[in-house]
């Protein structure tokens, strides 16, 4: 998925592939490099390549990125990113993988779907539940996709940009706050 950054018109040229980008290209998976986050290589890959890429990076003896540090989500109003932080004990290496998920429509923004990786990477189970809870990415085929931090009857996803905070008897101070 090659999405040009509209916010930074100066950076039109594509960045050179890094170590893991080249490794993925050798194995037939396309990726786009982004600016490094804290000296860690950051790549964007398409939705359909996510699962094969993660399987490859986890098991291949060349990379051995066999530790999933975290899964997080970021709301960019027009799209939502699902971000995977991988780490390798053996090579002391790290990689950040982003998957960009465009929102389906403004009216029904809850439908942001992505395939779960919890079936072959059990560390992802709770992280995906948390991302679903707070950002609202629906991980399909997840074994137990329920809210993990907020109560079961919570409405909306709190870290979305368009989230409106509930005002009720437990929480009605500061009507002029930024909520």
């Amino acid at each position: 998925m090659s999405q040009t950054d509209t916010n930074k018109p100066n950076e039109t040229k594509e960045m050179e592939l890094g170590k893991f980008g080249k490794f993925l290209k050798d194995n037939g998976i396309d990726s786009t490099r982004k600016d490094d986050s804290i000296n860690v290589e950051t790549i964007v890959i398409s939705v359909k390549d996510l699962e094969p890429a993660l399987r490859l990076l986890k098991t291949s003896s060349e990379t051995k990125l066999n530790m999933l540090l975290t899964i997080s989500g970021v709301d960019y109003t027009d799209r939502i990113d699902s971000i995977y932080h991988l780490w390798s004990y053996d090579h002391n290496d790290a990689l950040v993988i982003k998957v960009e998920l465009p929102k389906q429509s403004q009216a029904n923004t809850d439908t942001v779907n992505l395939t779960s990786i919890a079936n072959f990477w059990s560390a992802a189970n709770w992280h995906e539940r948390e991302t679903y809870d707070l950002v609202g990415i629906r991980y399909l085929r997840h074994p137990y996709l329920r809210r993990i931090l907020n109560p079961w009857d919570w409405e909306g996803h709190p870290l979305r940009r368009d989230y409106k905070q509930l005002v009720d008897a437990l929480n009605d101070k500061n009507p002029h706050s930024f909520r």
Partner: protein, 228 residues
């Protein structure tokens, strides 16, 4: 003695509610009203002594949800030594405790659990709202998940400000609570006792009553056994 009785005739709801039901023939016999009178009278004699004993053995519940709990642990250790005031026995179950020190931020998810704990405490029960978070929501005031003050869900006896309060402040709050207990009257306390409500245990993940889930599980196991 009769003066005592007359003063407290209308002090309890029990007497007031049942006054119309009791026929005049039975007015001289032992009725609910007369039991209430006796309780009122006795409580004036017994309460000061009982309160002195109770105030020196306030057992707190082990309830800490964030950094205030560190200070609460500290006050139990030998440097500050809450056992000088008879409160060293931090109980792990609300059934044996008299006091909740709500040490830490209460989130909306924790609120239901805290209400359950409060309802499980035997009467008389007390609450010290410890720290800025449990008084107003503190610095998490604006957060989507925080209850803005524990007094929105349970009644509070002593407010203890600080972020977190020093262990000496906890001792001070405990002494304030002891003063409050010593001035109490049993009969009056009984009137304003917290009304117990039936508690429904709900699964945290899906919100279904635990009874239903248990019934489903039993059905599944019996089906599986039948198939064998």
């Amino acid at each position: 003695m009769s003066e005592l009785l007359n003063n407290d005739l209308n002090s309890t709801d029990l007497a007031r509610e049942n006054a119309a039901l009791i026929s005049p023939e039975l007015a001289d016999t032992v009725t609910l009203t007369s039991i209430d009178k006796a309780i009122n009278m006795l409580s004036q004699i017994v309460s000061p002594i009982a309160n002195l004993a109770r105030s020196n053995s306030v057992w707190p519940l082990t309830f800490g949800t964030s950094c205030c709990a560190i200070e609460m642990m500290c006050v139990g250790m030998s440097a500050f030594d809450i056992s000088r005031f008879g409160s060293e026995v931090f109980r792990a179950t609300p059934r044996q405790a008299d006091l909740i020190i709500t040490a830490g931020t209460i989130t909306r998810k924790m609120a239901s659990a805290l209400i359950t704990l409060y309802e499980q405490l035997p009467e008389p029960k007390y609450v010290i709202a410890m720290g800025a978070c449990t008084i107003t929501g503190g610095m998490f005031n604006d957060s989507y998940s925080v209850v803005q003050g524990v007094d929105r869900i349970i009644p509070v006896d002593v407010y203890l400000p600080g972020c977190p309060p020093r262990p000496e402040a906890i001792l001070d709050a405990l002494l304030k609570l002891q003063q409050k207990i010593r001035t109490e009257n049993y009969a009056k306390r009984r009137v304003q006792a917290y009304q117990q409500r039936p508690v429904c245990y709900v699964d945290y993940d899906c919100g279904r009553p635990l009874e239903d889930l248990l019934a489903m599980a039993m059905e599944d196991t019996s089906l599986a056994l039948d198939q064998k």
